[in-house]
Point group: C2
Chain length 645, copies 2
């Protein structure tokens, strides 16, 4: 087969690829980063590169402007190499690395009455062995196993070969006194129950010396990691970072598509492991008073949505996105860090928390536990607002759940001037109902660059409540203000003029953006309705609504109700819980009973597949209005509107 | 630290080593093979190389002749590099690769009534899963586990991550019908009991299609491997090869010393794995009618002495040779092929059979089972004659065992003209009692090159019975024959003149060789005595003596009794069983009850440490005569001698 030489302006070396390879494939070979926010589907138009010379066949040039095409721009993920080619890669949009802890991590508290010795699956034991002699020539291993059985009372211990290899020298260095670390899981349901010998050492650890564990939440967008001293239960460091997979797809579907390409799964797995490893290093450095290294970490719990869990473990995720939407695994068996590829103690037990379905993952079961929903008598609605929108309705008696494919509009994606909630994002908007002039607040206080999720909710609500946008989402074009105009994508509202912005372009909200936002909020609201209808509980009788997810924390309740994203209830029934997923992972890290309870939650939850019948579709169609086609569902908004009219 | 450049004449590249490195270390780096039969202790003098130029400090030059030293010869394992050096490596003695199956493998028979479905730990099952649908969205893994539970009745299944990664595609390729391979061990004693999911496939295997397993015996000298169809129980290929570790030490002590050097353990592990892998390839090619590859092998049992087991697994073996002689592990936990580094199905269960002590390993427990000793009412003596001499005395009621550090004299080592039992070895000798002229038989029928174990026994017996050697092992020098002369190592008997031999040198047996042989046979005989005395059973009441080991098969009983190697019993009480170790491994491969019985044998055997008191020493001193200091223990020999006198 013919091979062609490809040179990228940003790479030192020329690579050779077979006829028919994509530019993105050549780029990966050359170590060149080309962002593919849609996962290489050719849908987002953001992987444009310039072919300076050579032979390339465009499969698609979606979203490229004619003048770009004329200049030689092609979509890297849709262009097939058919000859020696020279490619220029424009500077790639860099994800702002400015996640601040207070914005993404829930307030973490050590559970009351936490006792290392009572609650933990993992324990450190000082073991004393009778030294061997000519009269007692038992082998090192059975000598140790007998001592553990007698002194700790544990049987059926899994002995890793790595530990067997160092056993003899540790026993002798320690003069037949060793410190052992044992992790005993309470497992059932056809999975293997076991006690793992995680490590042995000749060092004499003081009982209240820290023992290190990590709780990890792998979000589609953000990975959060807590470094925990298992003895005291305290979080010693909290760190967050964008998931390194973002440049290979901004939502789970794009990631799954990217993973299904040759080498894609391995790349995504490596990217998220890199992110975790960087976070581990950073967390270890932040601990004061101890010199902690990742290898000192002896246990990990991991939460995340089902796709993230599959990609972390290198398990193909393709079936998640294809009807009937099946995961390879909801409850991952227990593997060691070595098997998972995590650079902590190689024999550390990795607890991946259990998920329920393709789109209701371990982030939700952990969140439900962390929110207390599974143990309350109050009828409670729980929502995790992340890149997906998952909803749980229930109480200690029953639990139903569904996932709404809301899309990432509220994370700033799919909206032309949308962006994530970092410096430069407009996060709150007020519009004067007389002259339609806005004021806004920018994260970080500088000039704006775009609008983040809470800003979009706020803007849409203001546009609606001031009458600039009608209930169907149409911009009223007969208002006398320069803010409303016809743009390249149709009618739009100018929130900030170029003179005020960082990049000197106008920041607008177009009719297409408004449509996307309404579809997103409509999907979520329809989710509530379907769940409530399915169990015969009117939304009005819901006692409380708990909102998890880092983004959820910044929603303005009033405005979210005005656009119909949240149900119309007294404001005091809403509670923002922050990152409930990492919090649940943290609690499961501390206490094996919690792990059992999260497993119980997973098995108790009835998953409603929204695409299975027309109920959801009808509820969705009724929700594609501001706030809803049926205003009786939003009595407080109806009262406001009636008052104005 | 200073680095020096070392060039070997036989290697293309110059390597760089720090000041103070040994020539052997530089050689390993350069990929140059230098045999070290004593394991690098500087005792055998066989790693001599020539330093042509450079700076080398000799720590020792033991066994080098003055003229060699003058020419620049040094011991590679005892010479420290102190400057840039050029080294010539003389051609290394090559181990003859002529092991023939009939010489090393016991006659293997499928046990009567063997039934795959009843006896095996490993089974192949056809599993049918209900296909997923919008109404049944269970994940692939729990769907499979439930089906296995319902259709096979197995719980607590260990699911390897490698299988989880391919589960989704196998299920869909097979249209929700798969073939699973499950291996369920009966384990107890504080070790983990488990069912391993070894593999899944979408192929529909016919029930009586072969399922491949291997039984391996890792001898210090020879590795033997049987490729077995687990369904029929038949051995489909038998192969043997010298253990690739031989050039790094000819006995276990030398190997342990070599392994304790930096990088030595890893090298020895790689060498024995290489040997096994070559045997796997060779065995697979020999199978007729099926295209078998090593990756098709789904189970392995391994026997071998304790040192070989440690070295295979990369477990330090140092404590085995140091008082109080402790192994790191007698019963190796169950690991997968992947963990052990064996290139068969990565999730295949590797059963390492259990040993009893540092010098009574799995080769002996397997041998005891295979010999039937543990289930007979007859008082039985079992001996495995390999590089070590292990003895078991007992019956179904009781079992005692010990190991005699006999040394490898009977394997041809430690005897100047000794060699292994391959082509060119004198294997049987007759001496004319009138003129002291010998006749002999050579393996392969060509010119002789040396004397193998059975030849040495035969020769020593003839020398004694013809009066050339007296009961103390002294050569009578007043006999009128040119065969007896004073050599460089003292008095010697010339068995073959240079004119008859392949290498044109005389083949002799020196007084030092005789001493070595007497010490070796004395140690073994003393072992019988100590065991017999310890349990109060006179040697005379022993009902049968079973001799295992490939070498044992070729011993001439009459002559072995004459020198006092075997006890003086009617010849019909002796039985040669061949390689009982590989036979035991084969039987354990076929039947998990056998594995349990071998574990039971290991726990039943009382190990007598011969070095623990003076009993052995006294018995050994009394045995340093031909046949023994106490002739009443050898009545048939006494009668012969009395008759002659």
């Amino acid at each position: 087969m013919a091979e062609y030489s490809i040179k990228f302006d940003v790479a030192p070396e020329i690579v050779s690829v077979p006829f028919g390879s994509l530019i993105t494939e050549a780029a990966r070979l050359a170590g060149v980063n080309i962002n593919q926010p849609c996962g290489g589907q050719g849908r987002c138009g953001r992987c444009a590169v310039k072919v300076v010379s050579g032979a390339v066949r465009r499969r698609s040039a979606l979203r490229l402007l004619p003048e770009d095409i004329e200049q030689g721009y092609v979509l890297a993920c849709q262009s097939v190499i058919e000859g020696d080619t020279y490619v220029e890669v424009p500077p790639q949009e860099r994800v702002e690395r400015k996640l601040t802890i207070d914005r993404v991590v829930a307030e973490i508290r050590v559970p009351e009455n936490y006792k290392f010795n009572r609650d933990q699956s993992i324990h450190r034991h000082r073991i004393t062995l009778p030294p061997p002699s000519m009269d007692d020539q038992r082998d090192d291993l059975s000598r140790m196993i007998t001592a553990i059985r007698q002194q700790v009372g544990v049987e059926n211990i899994k002995i890793p070969l790595t530990i067997l290899r160092k056993l003899g020298s540790i026993l002798r260095e320690g003069d037949w006194q060793i410190t052992s670390i044992l992790d005993t899981q309470l497992h059932d349901d056809g999975y293997l129950a076991q006690t793992s010998l995680v490590d042995i050492s000749s060092a004499h650890e003081i009982d209240d010396n820290p023992l290190w564990g990590v709780a990890v939440d792998i979000g589609t967008t953000t990975v959060t990691l807590l470094l925990v001293d298992l003895v005291s239960g305290q979080v010693k460091a909290q760190v967050s970072e964008y998931n390194g997979q973002i440049a290979r797809g901004e939502d789970v579907i794009s990631r799954i598509i990217y993973a299904s390409k040759e080498g894609g799964a391995e790349e995504l797995q490596a990217l998220v492991l890199d992110t975790i490893h960087e976070l581990l290093n950073r967390a270890c450095k932040r601990v004061k008073g101890f010199n902690v290294e990742p290898k000192d970490i002896v246990k990990a719990t991991i939460a995340g949505n089902s796709t993230m869990m599959h990609l972390l473990l290198g398990i193909p995720a393709e079936s998640i996105r294809l009807s009937p939407f099946i995961t390879a695994v909801n409850e991952v068996p227990i593997y060691s860090a070595k098997e998972v590829g995590l650079n902590i103690n190689p024999e550390a037990v990795i607890l991946c928390l259990p998920g329920v379905a393709s789109y209701v993952g371990a982030d939700i079961t952990a969140g439900v536990y962390s929110s207390g929903l599974d143990d309350t008598s109050q009828v409670t609605l729980f929502m995790d607002v992340g890149t997906n929108g998952e909803i749980v309705l229930g109480s200690r008696e029953w639990l139903v759940t569904c996932a709404c494919s809301a899309g990432p509009a509220f994370e700033g994606a799919g909206v032309i001037n949308g962006m994530r909630a970092t410096d430069g994002a407009i996060e709150e908007v007020w519009i004067n109902s007389e002259n339609y002039e806005p004021t806004y607040r920018v994260i970080g206080g500088g000039k704006p660059r775009g609008i983040c999720g809470s800003g979009l909710i706020s803007l849409l609500a203001e546009l609606f409540m001031t009458g600039i946008v009608d209930k169907a989402g149409h911009l009223k074009q007969d208002l006398s203000t320069p803010r409303i105009r016809e743009g390249v994508n149709g009618p739009e509202y100018v929130l900030a003029w170029g003179s005020e912005t960082e990049h000197t372009h106008d920041i607008t909200l177009t009719i297409v953006d408004i449509d996307n936002l309404i579809r997103a909020k409509g999907a979520i609201y329809a989710g509530y309705r379907v769940l409530a209808d399915r169990v015969g509980v009117p939304l009005e009788v819901i006692d409380q609504m708990l909102i998890g997810g880092s983004f959820g924390k910044y929603i303005n309740i009033e405005k979210a109700i005005q656009i119909g994203l949240l149900p119309d209830m007294p404001w005091d029934r809403f509670q923002f819980l922050g990152n409930t997923s990492v919090n649940g992972a943290y609690l499961a890290l501390l206490d094996r009973e919690v792990h059992q309870r999260i497993r119980k939650i997973a098995s108790r939850m009835t998953y409603i597949e929204l695409s299975a019948d027309n109920t959801f579709y009808e509820a969705f169609m009724s929700s594609l209005f501001l706030p809803h086609t049926d205003l009786t569902q939003f009595p407080s908004i109806k009262a406001l509107i009636d008052k104005k009219d």
